[in-house]
């Protein structure tokens, strides 16, 4: 099958494939070819990341380590894959492949022809960044890749200007805030590098542990430096994660970006942000310091998460653009993920990891369904969706199924995540958080129902343009993701196996 020699190089290839192919796309400039190259890259990366996850899960220690250029740790860059980032990697790769397939017709209708090759080049750079952030075990490397993905994302959002000029404002807004967030992360890493002298995450964690021991004694070491570093890190990461109240860039960016970009970003960008938070808190800072020790980071995160769930869902109810409804719902869903990792127990962490995957499937599929609407109607205002259920039965059916997942109806993937989350909250004695999760589900019933009611029971205006179901290349990836979100709701064995393994390794890192 795959030669051994090649198999060992998979971690590097996952990042290099989209990077190199992206450069090629930009350079050759043949318009029709861009999509084919992007598709090829996504499929290769997807195959590679599945293989990698299998390797990780079957290795005794649940880790695969890859040394860039064979430089030993901690001097060189290490790619380190455990069930957590293996799972996130597969999520990103799966979504990228599905959305790339979807993008062909959708993007062609929204981006002008002479820029298509640039679009797909940037598209691949964005994937490079997201995959790289996930896979790397080096803190500075993470920052570099974060910048690659962010810059690519700003560009992609701005590409929505063909349909709506507001995409430009949304992109510049996102750029300013995203850059602040990234520089905060850089500062945070810098402070930690100052005191530990290393950039390798595992190494940094060990050295920080040694520093913590001296705290509270007569001569605490580097206490203020480390704490300042943490503060910068957490605020920066919260911004990337779009955790309330730092979520303001998200709704407009998602709404005015091209449909395929919305699907890609909603399903992967904030998920990778969630991954960064989990990695920093659990692997580098350590929960003993971040949660159980002196600094009550989990209180910050829980309050933010609770507000995100309630206000995100509430604001979703009030929107008139369906894309914006989904964007605000994403803010709420990020709240669920953040709550999961702030709970600091196995069930909560499992909920966070599994929700990263489940929500990526659901939201990705739903944004694609809206992409179909935009492709056929040119916009996604709620009033224009009236009676569309009869015209676009497949897409709107998929949207409805996805909506059930957002509510957390049993037999959808959303239920599995919320199940772990509520169990974890109660286990942690955080009943108010369990209650907030459930109230959030109630609010989700309202905003999902509002759309579903319009779709199926609204009457189409007289003289509204006749619309047809989307081409098959748009329907297949959409049904794939929504179908998967149902499948992993019915049979959650695989996903919960991986998520629980991730939670166990993370909690096991700290004695």
């Amino acid at each position: 099958m795959i030669p051994d020699q090649l198999q060992h190089q998979i971690p590097a290839l996952i990042v290099l494939t989209p990077l190199v192919l992206g450069l090629i796309t930009a350079l050759i400039g043949r318009r029709g070819l861009g999509w084919w190259i992007a598709m090829l890259a996504s499929l290769l990366v997807f195959a590679g990341s599945i293989q990698l996850l299998i390797d990780v899960m079957h290795s005794g220690t649940y880790t695969v380590s890859y040394l860039m250029g064979n430089w030993p740790v901690p001097y060189g860059i290490e790619y380190r894959i455990d069930p957590l980032n293996g799972g996130v990697l597969c999520t990103v790769a799966l979504i990228s492949a599905a959305v790339t397939l979807f993008a062909r017709r959708s993007v062609a209708s929204e981006v002008s022809r002479d820029r298509l090759h640039f679009f797909y080049a940037v598209w691949l750079f964005c994937q490079t960044g997201l995959l790289g952030i996930t896979i790397t075990g080096d803190a500075f490397n993470l920052y570099v890749l974060l910048e690659i993905s962010s810059l690519a994302t700003y560009t992609l959002v701005a590409m929505g200007k063909g349909r709506d000029r507001r995409a430009l404002t949304a992109a510049i807004n996102y750029l300013v805030l995203g850059t602040i967030g990234a520089s905060f992360i850089l500062l945070g890493i810098g402070f930690l590098y100052m005191v530990t002298g290393t950039l390798n995450m595992m190494d940094m964690a060990e050295r920080l542990d040694a520093i913590y021991i001296t705290w509270g004694t007569a001569e605490p070491q580097y206490q203020k430096t480390v704490l300042t570093g943490f503060a910068f890190l957490f605020v920066g990461v919260s911004l990337k994660l779009a955790l309330f109240p730092l979520h303001t860039w998200l709704p407009n960016a998602y709404t005015y970006a091209p449909a395929a970009v919305s699907a890609l970003l909603a399903a992967t960008a904030t998920k990778v942000g969630a991954y960064i938070s989990i990695r920093f808190i659990y692997t580098i800072v350590g929960t003993d310091a971040a949660f159980r020790g002196a600094i009550p980071t989990h209180v910050f995160i829980m309050v933010s998460a609770g507000m995100a769930i309630l206000l995100g869902s509430y604001l979703a109810i009030k929107q008139d653009n369906v894309k914006k409804i989904l964007a605000y719902s994403s803010i709420a869903q990020i709240g669920y993920i953040a709550l999961g990792f702030a709970l600091d127990n196995k069930n909560g962490l499992t909920a966070a990891v599994i929700h990263i995957f489940n929500h990526a499937l659901t939201k990705g599929g739903m944004f694609m369904a809206l992409g179909v609407v935009a492709y056929r109607l040119g916009n996604t205002r709620l009033q224009d969706l009236r009676g569309l259920g009869r015209k676009l039965p497949v897409s709107m059916g998929a949207f409805t199924a996805g909506g059930l997942g957002l509510i957390g109806v049993p037999l959808t993937a959303g239920f599995v995540s919320k199940w772990y989350l509520v169990t974890g909250a109660i286990e942690a004695g955080r009943y108010e958080m369990a209650a907030i999760v459930l109230v959030g589900s109630l609010l989700a019933v309202v905003y999902v129902w509002r759309v579903v009611e319009t779709i199926y029971f609204g009457k189409r205006d007289e003289g509204a343009p006749n619309v047809q179901e989307a081409p098959i290349t748009m329907l297949v990836p959409m049904l794939l993701l929504i179908g998967a979100s149902i499948y992993f709701g019915v049979d959650a064995n695989t996903t919960s196996w991986i998520a629980e393994a991730a939670a166990e390794t993370l909690l096991g890192v700290q004695p």
Binding site: L246, L315, Y431
Partner: protein
């Protein structure tokens, strides 16, 4: 899962798909075969009494488990669906039968659910099926009513789910061997009034169930939604939702005294609104609330006889209530009217319908020799027994005496409502000039069959008693049910009530009015209050006004959609300055808290 224990619900759910696809004769063969197969399967499962398991969503679920009350409810569900199909035989609505099969399938699934999660799944399937059934009625206000129905049940469903999740999580915490199990919540009976998360979970579960049972303040969905079905759809609608809720309450919360209060309220509410009502099917919906109230009283008392009474009453009630709705449906089918002031004198041409409705009316009032008498009186006996026990134990029995009075008064009231008033205004009183032909044979056959069951169970209650959860108590009760003074008390009560109807006849005449119900509070009062009272008062406080009424909604809206003057004042979602300020504040907050806390940690 073995072949021999297919969940009976799956027979109906799978059958519904076939039914939707089938055409012509095959469709009807299927429609009649389904309830029979489901019933046979249900009994086969009950006889085996064995659980079966399936792994779903990473949990081991028990879709087949036989609870104490499962046999009696499953039997009547099967009979009911068969009767409903027979009654609907001349209907042409294509979607009605599959929807009914899904609805009944969900109900049957709840009866056999051995764990809370599969119970909830079937519960929601039932909601979906019944909503479609309401919409298939194609009445005037049907769409809105279906929506309100669905909204109410989605709300109840989420509350139920919250409760279930909290209860299960609590059980996992306390190391329960079978945390998912759907079983009696002994904890609730002992400590429902202690304030803990444990009891919060159970309260939420119970409230979710009570929404479906039509308990206050959620009673009004029944008279709102049920009259919207087609003549045959309403017959089926009347049977499953409330009774499934009764079943779950009986299984999980028998003996929780607060249910007595709910039951008493519903018993009175149903009678009072029934007396004021003009529409036959709305009147029957109110009396349905009243009857479910009786069942809740039985569940709240919780003694073995009371449980038997509640379950037996549910059986009898499904049959006679369906019979009454069939009669009302026949009147609607034949005349196209359901308002009592537009009807009258139908006894000339619709004798079969008339006699069947009178038998149904007698049964609902608990007249001797009808099924209502043999089932409802068990609950009365349980009240008096319980009251005697309380006295022996030296405790106050006042609330039981009150319950008894409410029970008897409501019994008399329902006799006036559903028997005398209905019979009088529809079939006698003035001659409305209507001479509709009698309904087709299948409707007659269904009504005669159900009337036969009412009489049969009134005369020979043995077979029903043999199905009940506590067979020994029921058998003992069978010996005293037809004692002389029991019969005389009942006759005296009912005949006096009947007499009072004719004395007060002028007051009883109905005109076309709207009766205000509790749902007025959330359909009219709360929106009005917010608009006319709360908003002006909040407007007095400038900051509150700006924050709550202008800034928040402004934030929520896309700024581009706002009128120009508002756009300036609200920063909207476009400005970068506000988020940057928020970032700085966040960073400051983190730093302050970290620096302030760490040195003291030691």
């Amino acid at each position: 899962m073995r072949m021999t224990d297919i969940p009976p619900a799956f027979v109906l759910l799978f059958g519904a798909i076939l039914l939707a696809a089938a055409k012509g004769k095959l469709r009807w063969v299927l429609a009649f075969a389904l309830p029979v197969i489901a019933l046979a399967d249900a009994w086969q499962v009950i006889d085996q009494g064995r659980d079966s398991f399936v792994t779903l969503m990473g949990m081991q679920l028990t879709p087949v488990h036989v609870h104490a009350a499962t046999p009696v409810f499953a039997t009547v569900f099967g009979i009911m669906l068969l009767g409903g199909v027979l009654y609907a035989f001349n209907q042409k609505r294509e979607i009605e039968l599959p929807a009914a099969a899904v609805y009944a399938g969900g109900g049957l699934g709840v009866l056999f659910a051995g764990d809370l999660v599969s119970m909830f799944i079937f519960w929601e399937i039932m909601t979906l099926g019944s909503t479609v059934l309401i919409w298939s009625g194609k009445q005037n206000d049907n769409y809105g009513a279906g929506m309100r129905y669905f909204g109410m049940h989605a709300f109840g469903g989420v509350i139920l789910l919250m409760g279930i999740i909290i209860v299960i999580a609590q059980r996992i915490q306390t190391g329960d061997a079978d945390p998912l199990a759907f079983r009696h919540m002994h904890e609730m009976v002992e400590g429902w009034n202690t304030l803990s998360w444990q009891s919060a979970g159970m309260w939420l579960m119970m409230l979710g169930m009570l929404v479906n049972a039509g308990a206050p303040p959620f009673s009004s969905w029944i008279p709102d939604a049920y009259p919207q079905g087609s003549s045959s759809g309403t017959v089926i609608l009347s049977a499953f939702t409330t009774k499934t809720a009764v079943f779950t309450l009986l299984t999980a919360f028998a003996g929780v005294d607060i249910l007595i209060a709910f039951g008493c309220f519903m018993a009175i509410y149903g009678v009072v609104y029934g007396i004021l009502e003009n529409d036959i099917r709305r009147l029957l919906s109110y009396s349905l609330v009243n009857q479910v109230g009786f069942m809740l009283i039985g569940i709240g008392i919780g003694s073995r006889l009371a449980i038997d009474g509640a379950a037996g009453h549910a059986f009898a009630h499904i049959i006679y209530k369906a019979l009454l709705f069939m009669g009302a449906g026949s009147v609607l089918f034949a005349t196209g009217r359901t308002k009592m002031n537009q009807l009258g004198g139908l006894y000339r041409t619709m004798p079969v319908t008339m006699w069947c409705m009178i038998i149904g009316g007698l049964a609902i009032s608990g007249f001797p020799l009808t099924s209502g008498f043999t089932s409802k009186s068990m609950v009365v006996a349980a009240i008096t027994d319980q009251s005697a026990l309380m006295l022996e134990a030296g405790k106050s029995n006042t609330y039981l005496v009150l319950t008894w009075i409410v029970f008897e008064a409501a019994t008399a009231g329902v006799f006036i409502d559903a028997c005398v008033k209905l019979g009088w205004f529809v079939f006698f009183q003035k001659d409305s000039g209507l001479r509709p032909p009698e309904v087709p044979w299948n409707m007659k056959a269904a009504m005669i069959g159900f009337a036969g069951i009412c009489i049969f169970l009134g005369v020979f209650p043995g077979p029903l008693y043999a199905l009940l959860p506590y067979k020994a108590e029921a058998a003992a009760y069978a010996k005293v049910v037809y004692s002389f003074d029991h019969v005389m008390t009942m006759l005296g009560l009912l005949l006096f009530a009947g007499l009072s109807f004719f004395v007060l006849l002028p007051l009883m005449k109905r005109t076309e009015t709207i009766t205000l119900d509790i749902d007025w509070i959330w359909r009219r009062f709360i929106p009005k209050f917010w608009h006319d009272v709360a908003t002006p008062i909040l407007g007095q406080f400038k900051t509150v006004k700006e924050a709550v009424l202008e800034w928040l909604p402004g934030r929520a809206m896309d700024e581009a959609d706002l009128p120009a003057p508002l756009r300036k004042r609200t920063p909207g979602t476009w400005a970068v300055s506000v988020p940057v300020l928020v970032i700085s504040v966040m960073l400051l907050a983190y730093l302050l808290v970290y620096f302030w806390l760490v040195p003291t940690a030691g």
